[in-house]
Amino acid sequence: MSQVQPPSRSKKFSQKFSARRAENNLIYANPLPVIFPSPPPPPPSLLHRLLGISVSHVENPHCEGVLDLSTRSVWVLGMGDAMLLWQRGFFGKGDLSRSEPSWLARQVNARKQAKKGGLTSEEVTAKRRAERKQFKLDRAKAMAAAAAEAEVAFQEQGRVISTTYAPDGTRIIPSAATWKPTRTQEAQTGEPASSPKPEDTDDDEDDDEEEPIQNIEHLQLTLQEAFFLLWNLDCLSVLNPDTDTPLTLSQIWHAFQNAYIPSPTLSPSLNAPHSPRFDNPFLINYIVYHHYRSLGWVVKNGIKFCADYLLYKRGPIFSHAEFAIVVCPVYEDPADQESSPFNLQNASPFSWSWLSTINRVNAQVQKTLILSYVTIPARSRISEDVLSSPACFAHYSVREVVVRRFIPARMRD
């Protein structure tokens, strides 16, 4: 499991950084779980694999997952498979972690003394948030003190003094860029981590005999990710939660669609939906997911930024997401929209205030907002029989519109 170093500004930073980058390049070298051989043999085509022609030297990990309808996801319980799926393509999310399933690592860290500073990403975030909270307290105190001083000066002498800059030019109120946590803060944050230490020091010698922590975490794949893996790359098999037997492709196709149709039971209904519809949310979201995955992007969930998906160039480890995708389904036939049981989000053009909101949110975090329009074929034009197989995707289409703010005052040159 990768461990993230907190960024420091020491001289060794650049060396550590390049070593870290090289290590990440090794770990996350494969963009897909299935590894194809290097040139020269031409890689096997999708068609060949679908027909079952076995071509040698394709490494297929054959992971396994269980369908869970209450969360509309596929759970990968084996940690080996889970780490593999995460490291090759950043599929899925650990359910007890922020992204990568690192719960076990955090528990182990919490047990041991974290003196080497090998923190997981959650711990880094927690430390950063504690520091920022302290900075805000410091700043509030400094502002209050400066205001009080200015007030006193005004009352007594009628002088108006600046509250942010002292007469000699230094800043009275700290700015985030230059504030440094004091020693007391570091000791405080170090305290909770080492508080279990007194209990463990007695058992230090018996560390090996301590009961190993049971990993209760699993990797959770959305239905779209799971379908992408099993249909295109054939590296995932999904088990029926009731019977623990692998499901066939058509059963999965039906079950995933039925997951969005409200039903009384939680067992997957493996037969075709009673009235298959083109605007099933699974299909719409899958089309967008597949489109961007096929272009090479790493597609992750975008709920933190009011969007549906986030696009990463190589992965969340390497850089921040550049684009936030909002899926906007467009009905060819308005009558389909009225008769739809799904009530898809964003199917009608939204109001300017909402567009402005998501645009601002994403501009604040330096992401570009992209509206992905998915056209839904009309039931009058295409019969719904095509929905019995994934070949129906050829009837949809995806197109993007980039939304940005236009500030005339800055576009004058």
Partner: protein, 490 residues
């Protein structure tokens, strides 16, 4: 005693503040710092200063004495600045007459720099054989015949209101109801007395010739910033418009890919990504609409953008630096649509497509110069109005796998032994070299140093600016046509 507030502080503009200002809305959102404006006596144009210090909340008991003092100063400075009388030299005042019947202001005396970018000349006059009010625009203007009509300068309503608001135009309204627009009378003869007030100008001219309050607000805002605005569709024949960009020939979905990309694709072990691209994507895929006939795939501007849709380009906007000639305007820098934010929703896909349909493709903005590399990375900067089919962005590989068929083709090709495939690719490409020589020859040199894909992805090929006016607050949005399928990451 308030020297500190008067003098701009030297330490304030730090780099961090600049950074924040880039992110934030900047000058046009916040209020001015009125204390830093020059007094009413100065003739220098006031510079919009940086914002002053701002407290977040009043201290207890309704604000401290210092805070109240600062507030009072700021308020007083604002009132003083606004109270100052605005003057204009009498030598730069223009005079005009407003004719409601034709919705135009005829400028009898034009002075000042404004008329280099505003107004258009119309040949209008009274001759015995013609009806008053007849436009006679269809008569060739240069035709020397018995009745050569005098050309005169006329202003559209928004231009007139703008100039009246600035104080650069004295506009008169004829008292007599039967005034003939073709009369070349001076203002004094028409309407003795005082010129129209700004209030009267608004009342008279808003609502005429498609000029609503929202459109005027956008017009005035952009004009004040220095842009040059013209209307997109001419209200009369005399109105000069930019030559419409030659409508894009329907780009074939199968663009020839460069030799290098085919080679790279052959040897790439990520060919699986290409094989996955079978979902139809991109703006060229026909957009079906149940109300249209099935055969008309690409919506023509008239079909969707009927009178019911407010999404039509209304203004052509030129940057202040663009050389603008009134008689032959160049290609506009921005296309602006003005809508009322409360009554009109965001454009739907059909409206956006019909808007994009009429726009030309813009070249990429040049990347920021990074020393020597700028020369190799710089894409073609010449506007593509003249040759819209030469897609400057075509340097990237165009995915031909838009339907289910090409992947099967590519898979069969890749199954063959390599050298004939390579040879086939090369030979198949030579005819393409000949037919589209000017474009293709340049592309191989670009491919090894591909321009940054993110620039193209973030700007898109065509951009439309929509101004959503919400009771006076204008929000501008740029909608760009995305080209993700042309810039794959793998």
């Amino acid at each position: 005693m308030d020297d500190v507030l008067e003098r701009p502080s030297p330490q304030q503009p730090s780099s961090k503040d600049h950074n924040e200002e880039d992110q934030s809305s900047g000058d046009e959102d916040g209020g001015l710092d009125w204390t830093k404006l020059p007094g009413p006596g100065t003739t220098a144009r006031p510079v919009i200063p940086k914002r002053g210090e701002k407290d977040f909340e009043p201290t207890q008991e309704g604000g401290s004495g210092l805070q109240l003092h600062v507030l009072d100063r700021a308020r007083g400075a604002m009132v003083e600045a606004l109270r100052a009388g605005r003057s204009i030299s009498s030598k730069s005042i223009s005079y005009g007459i407003w004719y409601p019947s034709i919705d135009r202001v005829h400028v009898t005396t034009a002075r000042g720099i404004h008329f280099s970018t505003m107004g258009h000349s119309v040949a209008r006059g009274v001759s015995s054989s013609d009806n008053p009010g007849d436009n006679e625009a269809d008569r060739p203007l240069n035709h020397i015949s018995g009745s050569k009509l005098p050309k005169r300068l006329e202003l559209l309503p928004e231009e007139a209101i703008y100039l009246v608001e600035r104080g650069a135009l004295f506009c008169y309204k004829p008292i007599a109801q039967e005034s003939i627009p073709g009369d070349s009378l001076s203002p004094e003869e028409i309407s003795p007395g005082s010129p129209m007030s700004v209030q009267q100008a608004f009342a008279e001219m808003i609502g005429r010739e498609g000029m609503t309050l929202e459109r005027y607000q956008v017009y005035a805002y952009l004009k004040r910033l220095g842009f040059v605005l013209t209307r997109a569709d001419p209200p009369t024949i005399d109105y000069p418009v930019a030559a419409p960009p030659s409508l894009p020939i329907t780009r074939s979905l199968d663009q020839p890919r460069t030799v290098w990309h085919r080679l790279a694709a052959l040897f790439s072990r990520l060919d699986v990504f290409k094989a996955l691209r079978f979902i139809p994507c991109g703006h060229l895929v026909p957009l079906h609409k149940s109300s249209l006939s099935e055969t008309r795939s690409i919506p023509s501007p008239e079909s969707v953008a009927s009178a019911s849709s407010p999404y039509k380009v209304f203004f052509h906007v030129y940057k202040p630096s663009t050389p603008f000639r009134k008689t032959a305007p160049p290609a506009p820098d921005f296309y602006v649509v003005v809508v009322n934010a409360r009554t009109t929703a965001m454009p739907s896909l059909h409206e956006l497509t019909s808007l994009f349909y009429v726009l030309p493709e813009m070249p990429l903005p040049p990347p920021r110069k990074r020393g020597i590399q700028a020369s190799t990375k710089k894409p073609n900067n010449v506007p593509t109005v003249k040759s819209p089919s030469s897609n400057v962005l075509g340097q990237a590989s165009h995915d031909s796998s838009r339907t289910a068929h090409p992947p099967i083709q590519s898979s069969s090709q890749s199954a063959q032994p390599q050298s004939p495939t390579l040879f086939q690719h090369l030979t198949s490409f030579i005819p393409l070299f000949r037919t589209t020589a000017p474009k293709q020859i340049t592309t191989p040199t670009f491919v090894p140093n591909r321009p940054n894909p993110f620039l193209a992805l973030k700007t898109g090929t065509k951009t439309i600016v929509v101004a959503a006016v919400d009771s006076g607050s204008i929000s501008f949005f740029r909608f760009g046509e995305g080209v993700f399928e042309e810039w794959p990451m793998a």
